[in-house]
């Protein structure tokens, strides 16, 4: 059996904003079903890399190849980014309706997606009535409702407290098990990167390049007590060291 073609490829891409916040040259292959974490200091271009993968931005130089079609890529932003005037179910139904699914069916699937993220009964709530963690779950439901092949998460937990963070990390793994999308996860938290991903890419300060790459050799979703295991601690140490080295270089 030959390896499947990668789902998204960045080949020697460079993004030049005319300042210090740029990217590259940077290359990245995303295979279907894998979870990759991009970790690096603020301004290293990790969010830019994510926007390139989403097709929301074009590189200054280099090539981006995307196998996922319209509606097959989802993005979760740092903030919940919900429409404040719309109920949770309408927020979740939006991607379906924009891609032409009839309203009734879109709302039905949206209600089901809200149930996956354990928000059954919050369908009618407006974003202002939700807590930060709940709003982020709505955002996650909106990303998953289209059954994406590529799920891009841009520091989705940055604004949340530790307890909510951990619950959401487990949720993302649980949901990943169901449909196995490829996940790219941007973060500046080492423990989060190691917990979430099977592959951790460390980036240098802007313009960001690949500093090193580490595999996390443990089953997904993570077994109970994974955060206290020797493997987890060691990998976190490795990634931290690589990150420190990248910052110093």
């Amino acid at each position: 059996m030959t390896a499947a073609a990668p789902l998204a490829v960045l080949r020697d891409v460079e993004v030049d904003y005319g300042g210090r916040f740029g990217l590259g040259p940077f290359s990245l292959d995303i295979a279907s079903g894998e979870i990759v974490a991009l970790i690096g200091p603020s301004g290293c271009g990790k969010s830019t890399a994510l926007r390139l993968l989403a097709g929301l931005e074009a590189p200054t130089r280099g090539a981006v190849t995307r196998a996922a079609g319209r509606g097959e890529t989802s993005v979760v932003f740092q903030a919940p980014t919900l429409m404040p005037w719309a109920e949770a179910v309408d927020n979740v139904a939006l991607p379906l309706e924009l891609t032409g699914v009839p309203r009734g069916m879109a709302r039905e699937r949206a209600a089901a997606a809200l149930a996956w993220v354990k928000l059954k009964g919050a369908d009618q709530a407006k974003p202002a009535q939700l807590s930060g963690g709940m709003a982020m779950r709505v955002s996650l439901a909106r990303a998953l409702v289209t059954d994406p092949k590529l799920l891009l998460l841009d520091e989705p937990f940055a604004a949340l407290d530790e307890i909510t963070r951990r619950a959401l990390a487990d949720d993302i793994h649980r949901l990943w098990t169901a449909t196995k999308p490829a996940v790219v996860f941007v973060t500046h938290n080492v423990e989060e990167a190691v917990f979430m991903a099977s592959r951790v890419l460390v980036m240098t300060p802007g313009p960001g390049r690949l500093a090193s790459e580490m595999a996390v050799d443990a089953p997904l979703p993570r077994p109970a007590g994974f955060r206290t295991s020797a493997l987890f601690r060691e990998t976190v140490e490795h990634v931290s060291a690589a990150l420190a080295q990248a910052m110093a270089a």
């Binding site: 509606g71 980014t81 939006l94 309706e97 924009l98 709530a125 407006k126 974003p127 202002a128 009535q129």
Partner: protein
């Protein structure tokens, strides 16, 4: 002392000082009438003043409706095309900085001397146009950039983006614009009526001019009082509408 009684007491104090001073110094009534004289003038002319007030209010309301429809329509068209926006903006600004008093004679000619109320509505609409227009333009561009990216991601059409993102995002700005415009429409109607200088429109401004020409100063104050009340009422009504709609818009 509560928030409500303090201003009432203050106003009562001002009126008392005014009344006593005017009576004690024997100030002539055509120069500064006492509050009691103003109340008397108000009660004597209540019928004609109320009728004029309703005329002014009606003209202001028509002006507000006309301004709202044209401002929103133009703003939406401009939002669909960035090129159109940079073409129209300088023209709009030029019109905005031209004093209404200066264009009034022109509008009078266009409306025809037989239809002074049309000129008044037109001029008041020009004044009320800008807060709504600039509110709409700002609001249509005020959507969360990440939400815009989300619409890009799912390949939304221009119309989908307008109907489902830009217009709903503009709601708070539109409400604010209409609130400001409501006050300006009343002011615009009064100024326009002054400038059109004809009794044909029979609004409050005409009553003011008429009373001034006859040195009926107490009646002028009575008309001013009503004008002030209209302004406050217009503001209060739109404030209430804004509160109600915003509460529904964001769900709390």
């Amino acid at each position: 002392m509560s928030r409500l009684t303090a201003p009432i007491l203050f106003i009562a104090l001002l009126l008392a000082v005014w009344q006593i001073t005017v009576k004690a110094l024997h100030v002539p009534a055509y120069l500064l009438p006492a509050p009691s004289d103003i109340v008397l003038a108000l009660s004597q002319n209540l019928g004609v003043l109320t009728a004029s007030a309703l005329t002014t209010l009606q003209m202001a309301l028509w002006a507000l409706i006309a301004a709202s429809l044209t401002a929103c329509a133009i703003a939406v068209l401009l939002a669909l095309s960035p090129l159109a926006e940079c073409s129209v903006r300088p023209v709009a600004v030029a019109l905005q900085v031209t004093p209404i008093v200066a264009i009034a004679p022109l509008v009078n000619i266009w409306a025809g001397l037989d239809h002074p109320h049309r000129a008044v509505v037109g001029l008041a609409a020009v004044v009320a146009f800008f807060p709504i227009f600039s509110g709409a333009l700002t609001g249509l561009k005020a959507a969360d950039p990440d939400l815009e990216r989300l619409f890009d991601l799912y390949g939304a059409s221009r119309l989908q983006r307008l109907a489902r993102l830009r217009l709903p995002s503009a709601v708070p700005y539109l409400l604010e614009g209409h609130k400001v415009a409501a006050g300006l429409a009343v002011i615009g109607a009064v100024v326009a009526e002054f400038v059109s200088g004809s009794g044909g429109s029979q609004g409050l401004a005409w009553r003011l001019l008429e009373a001034a020409n006859r040195l009926q100063t107490a009646k002028m104050f009575a008309a001013l009082l009503i004008l002030g009340l209209i302004g406050v009422a217009a503001h209060a009504v739109f404030q209430a509408i804004e509160g109600l709609v915003l509460k529904r818009w964001r769900g709390r």
